[in-house]
């Protein structure tokens, strides 16, 4: 046992310190080395990290894609950070992301838990619910634009709710539509995650709760939700990152309008880089996005203890 004590305790790293002395031995053997992660890491480095580094370099250059890039110092960064449209786009991005998480999380938990039930009709319905995920963003946007047309779509039938139907002419309603359409499109994916996780909850927990006389809602809040913790974090990270980087829906539904009222950062980057061919500024905006999304997901991981979490099953079976 003394040799065990001299080895450095695994404090950093994704491993939680073993609590009980007798399990500390078994907790340490049979661990895979980092070599297991190497193939994926190398592959990823070549096709994602190397280009990202090139983008980082590009953010200090002035380049329109034609001649050779010229060093521009902090010029792009100064322009981007002084640009009122850029500042506004950051707020819009955060707002849309927050809206997405706030709406989609409860919805997909409820739908996922519901779909996890054994009834046959649920299987049929969840197959239908799954379909929006199969559509390309272009198709989704074209469909909703047709459905929300003020003269021929739903608003024309439901005038008491929509008034003149000018949903895309006002900032608040345009943002509402964007949040709604991405909810429509991506909820199935998160539902899938929760459905799987809810299935994995041991029935014995519910049986025990039922014996204790806990009602359905208490069971949901005291057993189901805590058991879904890992999935909530996974799904939230996906939503946040997805929210920060969405742009296809904006491209086809609103084109950032009215004016610049729905110009979110990812769309703004696309506009700068690929409509305006100002690749330097585009690269700077892209980096802001990458950094923001990384910081947010690191915070989520840290706060939730996700990277140290071993198993929600512990002490259960």
């Amino acid at each position: 046992m003394t040799t065990q004590m001299t080895s450095p305790p695994a404090v950093a790293g994704p491993v939680r310190k073993a609590r009980r002395a007798e399990s500390s031995y078994v907790a340490r053997v049979g661990r895979p080395g980092f070599a297991w992660a190497l193939p994926a890491t190398l592959f990823f480095a070549v096709f994602a990290i190397v280009p990202l580094i090139m983008v980082a370099v590009l953010s200090f250059m002035s380049w329109n894609g034609l001649g050779s890039p010229e060093f521009a110092g902090l010029d792009n960064w100064r322009r981007v950070l002084d640009d009122p449209v850029m500042i506004k786009s950051i707020w819009l991005t955060l707002l849309l992301t927050a809206l997405g998480v706030a709406v989609q999380t409860p919805l997909s938990i409820v739908l996922g838990v519901w779909a996890a039930g054994p009834q046959r009709n649920r299987a049929v319905l969840s197959a239908i619910y799954f379909i929006p995920l199969l559509l390309s963003s272009t198709a989704v946007s074209v469909l909703w634009r047709a459905l929300l047309d003020p003269n021929f779509g739903i608003p024309a039938q439901v005038t008491w709710l929509f008034g003149d139907g000018n949903l895309f002419g006002e900032q608040s309603t345009a943002i509402g539509v964007l949040a709604f359409v991405s909810t429509w499109q991506f909820t199935p994916f998160h539902t899938l995650i929760y459905q799987g996780a809810a299935r994995a909850i041991p029935p014995v927990l519910y049986q025990a709760a039922e014996i204790d006389g806990a009602g359905r809602y208490r069971q949901f809040f005291h057993i189901t939700l805590p058991q879904l913790r890992t999935s909530v974090i996974t799904s939230m990270i996906i939503m946040i990152v997805g929210g920060l980087t969405t742009f296809e829906t904006v491209l086809i539904l609103t084109q950032g309008g009215p004016g610049t009222d729905t110009t979110i950062s990812a769309y703004y980057m696309y506009q700068k880089a690929f409509k305006g061919f100002d690749f330097g500024a585009g690269a700077a905006i892209a980096l802001v996005l990458v950094i923001a999304a990384t910081v947010v997901s690191l915070i989520v991981v840290r706060v939730s203890g996700y990277d140290k979490m071993r198993s929600t099953m512990e002490g259960v079976s």
Partner: protein
């Protein structure tokens, strides 16, 4: 635990399959694409229904030419993006589709394009066989960089004949008649003018015409060449005031920013008599034919844009897409073959094929074949309009370099919905990049 062993095996199978398939894909796909030096000329075009003619012309060319041509298409919306990515690389094409004006200005500045003046000297037909007002869109710094290769698309004022007749309104010849028509139509409960504001570029067409009628083509020509004062001139303010009057008179209704042209919503408003007018490019007719055949043949009227009494612009000036062009890369290895290919753009075969799919070529031999077009009267109306026009202003978003595209569209939308006032709009236009 029966399933336990299945997963690893499945995994192994999947991986093996993936490798096999990717290797075979590798084999079949190699060697394709890109200009490079494969002894062929690569022609890059915007991918859509018009490709039919381009394919046919390439086939005709290949029948007689030793150097073969290959047609590559890029899906529409991202054409310019892809072009900009590859044009300065070995994958660049020899000849490519463009809109003239600002769309090729950056390439000319980067010295990538070949001036066609030598070709023209060789074969004056490459100039003389095309209408001059169209050719000028692809002339930069006095040199010619493009040969027209599809159809011209002037912007016209379309109307629903029945709606106008029911309201006792005649197609307006002047701006005041238009304003009066708006008032009458509104009182009858019809949206006077359909506008696909959600697409932003249909809104821009109103600016292009009103500016041209009020100030003549000179104001915009100065502005696009970098004279920022042009936007602050009295004429500019007058034009903006007229547009403001029209919007405030309720000419476009209240929800135009939620309506799109591209998904067929605004043409449907006109076809179904819910709106009276729509300002749109000449492709509108084909759109209505597809969506509402009866209406297109019997109920759809079209006129030139109303005149503005006292304005400096010639009443027969037009705006729109002058034509699409083929431009040639300087580094092409087969200039003679390219020249031979470009000559086909005024051949009888080309003109007939374009007319057959509803495009209106701008060659001088076009009138001979106008009767073979699907709608001869409409084709002739346009052709005469283009031929007589002293000035054919290329759409603003095409005339400016691509980087100005988004700011222009934002500004016109914001001016319409009141987020920008006259001074705000002028400032936004002055801030546009001109190179």
């Amino acid at each position: 635990m029966k399933t336990r062993a299945r997963w690893p095996r499945l995994l192994a199978c999947g991986a093996a399959l993936a490798l096999t398939v990717s290797l075979s894909a590798c084999g079949s796909g190699s060697g394709g694409g890109g200009g490079g030096d494969d002894g062929k000329i690569h022609i890059l075009v915007y991918g859509d229904a018009s490709n039919k003619v381009e394919k046919q012309i390439v086939a005709t060319f290949n029948k007689t030419s030793k150097v073969k041509a290959v047609l590559d298409t890029i899906p529409g919306a991202d054409y310019q993006q892809k072009l900009q990515t590859i044009i300065n690389t070995p994958q660049a094409p020899d000849v490519f589709f463009n809109w003239g004006g600002g769309s090729i200005k950056p390439f000319v500045k980067a010295d990538l394009l070949m001036p066609l003046d030598d070709f023209i000297k060789d074969d004056p037909g490459l100039k003389d066989n095309f209408l001059p007002s169209v050719l000028s869109s692809a002339v930069l710094d006095g040199k010619s960089y493009g040969v027209p290769m599809r159809g011209t698309q002037p912007v016209l004022l379309f109307h629903n004949k029945k709606v106008l007749a029911d309201a006792g309104v005649r197609p307006p010849k002047t701006w005041d008649e238009l304003l009066a028509a708006v008032k009458t139509l509104k009182s009858k409960g019809v949206t006077p003018i359909a506008l696909g504001g959600g697409d932003q570029w249909p809104t821009l067409m109103w600016f292009e015409y009103v500016y041209d009628r009020v100030a003549g083509p000179e104001l915009f020509r100065k502005a696009v060449n970098g004279d920022k004062d042009a936007w602050a001139s009295a004429d500019s303010k007058k034009a903006l005031g007229m547009i403001r009057d029209l919007v405030e008179a309720g000419a476009f209704g209240t929800n135009y920013d939620s309506v799109k042209y591209t998904n067929g919503a605004s043409p449907a408003l006109v076809a179904r008599g819910k709106a009276a007018f729509e300002l749109m490019g000449s492709w509108y007719y084909a759109q209505q034919q597809q969506d509402a055949k009866d209406f297109a043949e019997k109920g759809l009227g079209y006129t030139a844009f109303p005149t503005v009494p006292g304005g400096k612009g010639d009443p027969s000036d037009i705006v729109g897409n002058t034509n699409n062009f083929y431009s040639v890369l300087k580094k092409t290895k087969h200039p003679e073959a390219v020249e031979k290919f470009l000559k086909l753009m005024y051949s009888d075969e080309f003109v007939k094929a374009q007319l057959a799919i509803g495009n209106l070529p701008t060659t001088t031999n076009t009138p001979k074949f106008l009767d073979t077009s699907a709608s001869p009267a409409y084709a002739r109306f346009q052709y005469d309009l283009v031929k007589k026009a002293p000035s054919f202003q290329l759409s603003w978003d095409q005339a400016y370099p691509p980087s100005a595209n988004a700011p222009i569209r934002q500004a016109v939308q914001q001016f319409f919905n009141g987020q920008l006032d006259t001074d705000g709009f002028i400032k936004a236009m002055q801030a546009l990049p001109t190179e």
